[in-house]
């Protein structure tokens, strides 16, 4: 019996390693390929870090590759605006539907999941007249793409926030806060949002990840975000383009990791909360 169990455990361990290795190879191999390509010397002979040195020199990048700079700044802006707008729209709506209009929850879910079924080109065709007005009235900044991106991230954000709202008793918490004198804004800001932190973060992760990797809509709207800039750069300087691609992946990873570090864990157990407690003696 004990021998059988030990064999079973060994087999499980082996399976775990096999799965982990396959996943690592699947994800890391392309990255290694990119690294290999960007460090090849002239004519494929030897190794050089010239491409990375160029990329690390902000002044050179700004002057020699203005499109890249423009695309990077636009993507960063979009990665900030999109989750903020998405949260401003979705969190109050979903909370209100849960509290006051539970009969509408199916409709809201349907609307939020709809973008999953709409191809990007159809979305662009549908949004073109809207954007014509937006550009006409408000200017043609790339940042207006965030409106389309909010629609794109709705299905993922909805799922995350819905899971978060199901995990807490929003009704009781908000009623408790109201009875203590809180306005609806205070209820949202001080009670609901902090308790949706994990859900809000994962919705934001997904939004940021989607925005940083979005190409189709920006390209079809002839707007320059990082992906479009990289694509265009790839036509004239493949090495820099691939290096930027690799750097943007690392950048996205660092951003997501930082977000998860700031917000992970239960109330009072996140790494930041632990640090804070170490600094502040309890009264």
């Amino acid at each position: 019996m004990t021998g059988q169990r030990a064999r079973f455990r060994r087999r499980q361990r082996l399976l775990r390693w096999v799965v982990l290795t396959v996943v690592l190879v699947f994800f890391v191999l392309p990255l290694l390929g990119m690294l290999d390509f960007t460090t090849q010397g002239p004519g494929g002979q030897g190794r050089t870090l010239e491409t990375w040195r160029t990329l690390a020199n902000v002044d050179t990048i700004s002057t020699d590759y203005p499109a890249l700079r423009e695309g990077f700044l636009a993507s960063v802006g979009l990665a900030v605006i999109t989750p903020v707008v998405m949260l401003l729209v979705l969190v109050p709506t979903m909370t209100w539907v849960r509290l006051r209009l539970p009969g509408l929850s199916r409709t809201v879910e349907f609307i939020c999941l709809l973008p999953l079924t709409v191809p990007a080109i159809v979305l662009v065709v549908g949004l073109t007249p809207v954007y014509a007005w937006v550009y006409y009235l408000l200017g043609s900044s790339t940042l207006w793409l965030s409106l389309a991106y909010v629609v794109l991230v709705l299905p993922y954000a909805y799922r995350s926030l819905d899971a978060g709202l199901r995990a807490i008793d929003v009704r009781t918490l908000s009623e408790a806060a109201r009875s203590l004198g809180a306005s609806w804004f205070t209820v949202m800001w001080r009670v609901v949002l902090p308790n949706l932190r994990t859900a809000v973060l994962s919705a934001s992760f997904l939004s940021v990840a989607l925005v940083l990797g979005e190409f189709t809509i920006a390209n079809l709207f002839s707007k320059k975000n990082l992906q479009v800039a990289m694509y265009e750069l790839g036509k004239s300087d493949a090495k820099i383009s691939v290096a930027v691609g690799l750097a943007s992946l690392v950048f996205a990873f660092v951003v997501l990791f930082a977000m998860s570090f700031v917000g992970s864990g239960r109330a009072g157990t996140s790494p930041l909360a632990r640090l804070r407690r170490r600094k502040e003696p309890s009264a």
Binding site: A176, S179, L180, G181, A182, T186, R190, R197, G268
Partner: protein, 357 residues
């Protein structure tokens, strides 16, 4: 509990409240007055409207008609956050991302109290509920009973005009429930806040309240002191709902019901007529071993005898095939075995009679 409420607090008046959900009246003309500093318990089965009444008073529900006055001021249309009421919920309602102290301070912060004043008041309140040493704990680090105590401290910290308790003990285990209900009463008497306590547990209601209101289908059946409610129920529903009741056929003559070979005086509101059913409490019936020749109106056969801790219970079947439950001292339970012949009799307490039809 016989303690009387202190004469502070605010009077509350609910007048002719109606609230209909999908054609069903949750409140059907409820009128209720709470004296300053009084603790009134609303008792009733699920769906009787007791929680709706409390939620209307809290401002969490809007009545279709009727008025709510607190301290003489009409607050019927006033939003919840402007009503100045503390509330403890059935579900655990502590904000999970805040410590016990931060929870208690929350309402004070909204009222613009400075940090030092908040800290002092939170410490005072946590001390009142005996949880000073748990001030820095989060909800998930506390037991259910501790969470409800903090919720009580949080509700009282803002010095509300009215304290609303919506079945705050029902999620707790039996022992903690008894401890906490006694504590709630102690604290309520200490602070003197007018309190509405909603519960479906009659023992809880009878134990803590100055007056108990029994509700049925959106209406208040009876509002009385616990002892009066128990001994003098005004309606069959109240007699049935509060405590155990034997329903025994009886004949009426000269204002007394002849039952189990004896007679009992009838309560006001009893049905008239020669044939009635009287509602007699188990402790309103006596039981004793039968002699050899006894076969009178009170003679019966024991069906079961149970030991229930503080007391015992004997169930016997009479000659007219009625089952009668009798409360006996716990030391007497072993004297009765199924099949034994016994003699039952009324103790003589006044009882309510209802129509025999």
């Amino acid at each position: 509990m016989s303690a009387t409420a202190t004469a502070q607090g605010t009077p509350v008046q609910l007048t002719d409240l109606r609230r209909v959900y999908g054609g069903v009246a949750a409140l059907d003309g409820l009128t209720l007055h709470l004296e300053p500093g009084e603790l009134v318990a609303l008792l009733g089965p699920s769906g009787c409207g007791k929680t709706t009444a409390l939620r209307c008073l809290a401002g969490l529900e809007d009545p279709d008609s009727g008025t709510i006055e607190v301290g003489g001021r009409d607050v019927t249309g006033v939003p919840t956050n402007k009503r100045d009421m503390g509330m403890v919920f059935q579900a655990y309602s502590l904000f999970p991302h805040m410590t016990a102290r931060q929870n208690v301070e929350f309402g004070l912060e909204l009222r613009g109290r400075d940090r030092a004043a908040r800290r002092a008041r939170a410490a005072e309140m946590l001390d009142l509920v005996g949880l000073s040493q748990h001030a820095d704990k989060y909800a998930h680090q506390m037991s259910g009973g501790q969470q409800q105590r903090v919720a009580l401290a949080r509700a009282l910290a803002i010095e509300p005009q009215v304290l609303l308790l919506d079945e705050p003990l029902s999620a707790l285990d039996a022992k903690v429930r008894v401890q906490l209900r006694d504590e709630i009463r102690r604290i309520q008497l200490e602070v003197g806040t007018t309190t509405l306590f909603v519960t479906h547990d009659q023992e809880e209601a009878l134990a803590v309240a100055d007056r108990v209101g029994v509700m049925s289908v959106g209406r208040l059946e009876q509002l009385a002191a616990p002892a009066d409610l128990y001994t003098s129920p005004r309606t069959p529903f109240v007699a049935d709902f509060v405590g155990l009741t034997n329903r025994l056929r009886a004949t009426v003559s000269e204002g007394r019901a002849q039952v189990l070979g004896g007679s009992v005086p009838l309560l006001e509101g009893s049905a008239g007529g020669p044939e009635v059913v009287v509602l007699v409490r188990p402790e309103g019936v006596t039981v004793g071993p039968a002699g050899d020749a006894e076969s009178g109106a009170g003679s019966a056969t024991v069906v079961s005898a149970s030991f229930l801790g503080g007391h015992g219970r004997v169930v016997a079947r009479t000659g007219s095939d009625e089952l009668v439950t009798v409360q006996v001292p716990n030391t007497d339970v072993t004297r009765y075995r199924p099949g034994d012949r016994v003699v039952l009799g009324p103790r003589g307490d006044a009882a309510l009679a209802v129509s025999a039809d």
